[in-house]
Amino acid sequence: MLDPSPAGPNDIGAQDVGSVPYLSDPAPGHSPGIAARPMFEILIREHAPMLQTYLRAIVHEAGLREELFADTVVVAWRSLARFDESRPFSAWLRGIARRLLLAHGSKKRMLELSPEILDVLEDRFARIGKRPGDTFDDQIAFLQDCLRELAPRSLEVVEGTYFESVPAPQLGMRLGLSADNTRKILTRARLALRDCVRRRLSVLDLGDGAGSGA
C-alpha cells in the first residue's frame, strides 16, 4: 500500500500554497532567521537534481517546471520551521512540489496525473533515495546498466531519441527503418528499461500495491 502522505509535521499548510502566481504571501516574520540560510542553501543544492528529475516526471512543460522548482524552494524556505529533521528532506521537497502542482492543476486544469500515480512516483523516488551513492546522479547510475542491457538497435533508437532529440521519422531514416518501426522499437525499449528499473529498485508484486514502504 502506498503512503498517501498523511498530514504531519512535514506537511505544508494550505496557506503556503497559492503566489507567483499561486503561492500566497506568508505571514510577516514567517521566514526562518538568517542563520538558517547557509544550511538551507546546501540542502537545496544537494537535492536540486532530484527535484528537477521529479518535476521532469510530473510536468511536461519546461516553463512550468522552472516555476514549480523555484516555488518549491520558496515554500520550503518559508516553511522550514515546520520541517521535521528526523524525516528525509528530499521527500519533504517532493511533497511541496506535488502540492504546488495540485494547486496549479486544480486552478488551471493542467493536471493529468492521478494521485495514485503520484503516490507510485513518490515510492520510486524514495527507493532511489535509499540507494547507495553520494549524489542523486550516483544513485541513478543503475540506468546505465539498464541501457547496456538493451539490444544494439534499441540502444541506438533510445540514444537518438533522448540524447540527441531526433524525431522518429528522421531517426528512422538514419537507421534505415520506417518511422513506425522506429516507434515500435522505442516502445519496446522503454518497456525493457521500465522492467529493468523496477528490478533495480526492487519493485515487485505490482498487482498488490507493491509500492508500500516508501
Partner: protein, 280 residues
C-alpha cells in the same frame, strides 16, 4: 488500499523518461538553484491594506470620470489631466509596492522623468543590462527601452500588472543566463551576423558580431497561464514586438504589433561571451 497496475505502469514510464532525460542532459542546476534561493530569501511582500487599495481605486475612478466630464468642455486638456490623475492616484502606493516586489537579484532606482511620470530603472542580475519601467498613464506598467519615454505607445507591454512585468524581465535574464547549450550559427544571409540559439531555453538571439548589437531576438515564456512570445527583428536598432497571446485553450488574445527603438537595451557587453563590450 491497493494500487492499480496501470498506475504503476504509467508512473514507471514517467520515471524512466525523467531518468533518461537526466542521464542524457545532466544539466548543472546551479543557476536555477541560485535564482530560486534568491527568490526564497527575498523578504515577504507587504502589500498595502485592502481598504487602502480599494479607496485608491475608487479615487482613481472618480478622478477619471471627472476628467472625462471636464474633457467635454476642454478636449485639449484630457491628456495632461489623465497623466496627472494617474500619477497622483498610483505613484505613492506603487513606489512602495515596486520596491517590495522586486526579485532578490534585482536593484531598482527610482527616476523621475518628464511630467513627473514615475520611471524605474531595473538592473541585474547582469549589471550591463538595464530595463526601464514606468507607470503608464493608461494605468499599468510598461517595460520601456532606454531612450523611449514612459507611456509612449511603442513601449513593450503596457498595462501589465507590476509582478508580471518583473517576471518577464526576470525570465529574460534567466533564460539568457541559463543558456548553456547554446550553439552558434553563422548566418549566411547577413555577413557578420551570428545567431545564438539555445533549444532548451527557447531563446534565439542574432547579433552583429562586430558591435554586439542585437539584430533579432526570439524569446518565449510561459508565465502562469499566459504565453508570451517576443519576436524581434532588427534593422539597425528597431525592434518589432509582434504578438502576445493568452495560453488558455480557445482564448487567444492578440495585442497589436508595434515598433520601438531598443537602443542600448541589449547590446551592452559584459557577462556574455557573445556580446562584445560597448560603453553605456
Amino acid at each position: 488500499m491497493t494500487t492499480k497496475p496501470e498506475s504503476h505502469d504509467r508512473a514507471d514510464e514517467l520515471l524512466v523518461d525523467a531518468l533518461l532525460d537526466r542521464v542524457a542532459h545532466p544539466v548543472d542546476p546551479l543557476l536555477a538553484v541560485k535564482l530560486a534561493i534568491a527568490k526564497a530569501h527575498a523578504e515577504p511582500k507587504q502589500r498595502p491594506p485592502a481598504f487602502l487599495r480599494i479607496a485608491i481605486g475608487l479615487a482613481a475612478a472618480i478622478i477619471t470620470v471627472l476628467v472625462f466630464v471636464l474633457a467635454r468642455h476642454e478636449p485639449e486638456s484630457v491628456s495632461s489631466l489623465l497623466d496627472r490623475a494617474a500619477v497622483r492616484a498610483a505613484q505613492p502606493i506603487d513606489r512602495e509596492y515596486l520596491l517590495s516586489s522586486l526579485p532578490g537579484s534585482m536593484e531598482a532606482r527610482l527616476l523621475l522623468r518628464g511630467r513627473e511620470r514615475m520611471l524605474v530603472e531595473l538592473r541585474g542580475p547582469f549589471d550591463q543590462m538595464v530595463f526601464r519601467a514606468g507607470y503608464a498613464p493608461s494605468g499599468g506598467w510598461a517595460i520601456t527601452p532606454t531612450g523611449v519615454e514612459v507611456g509612449e505607445p511603442m513601449a513593450f507591454g503596457t498595462n501589465h500588472p507590476l509582478p508580471l512585468m518583473l517576471n518577464v524581465i526576470d525570465r529574460t535574464l534567466s533564460k539568457l543566463r541559463k543558456a548553456d547549450d547554446i550553439e552558434m550559427l553563422v548566418s549566411g544571409e547577413q555577413p557578420g551576423h551570428r545567431t545564438l540559439r539555445s533549444a532548451r531555453e527557447d531563446v534565439q538571439v542574432t547579433i552583429d558580431a562586430r558591435t554586439g548589437e542585437v539584430q533579432a531576438l526570439d524569446l518565449s515564456w510561459i508565465i502562469g497561464r499566459m504565453r508570451l512570445q517576443w519576436r524581434a527583428t532588427a534593422t539597425k536598432q528597431d525592434l518589432i514586438y509582434e504578438h502576445m497571446s493568452y495560453h488558455a485553450p480557445g482564448d487567444p488574445i492578440s495585442a497589436p504589433s508595434g515598433e520601438f527603438s531598443i537602443s542600448s537595451l541589449f547590446g551592452m557587453g559584459g557577462d556574455f561571451p557573445f556580446f562584445s563590450p560597448r560603453g553605456r
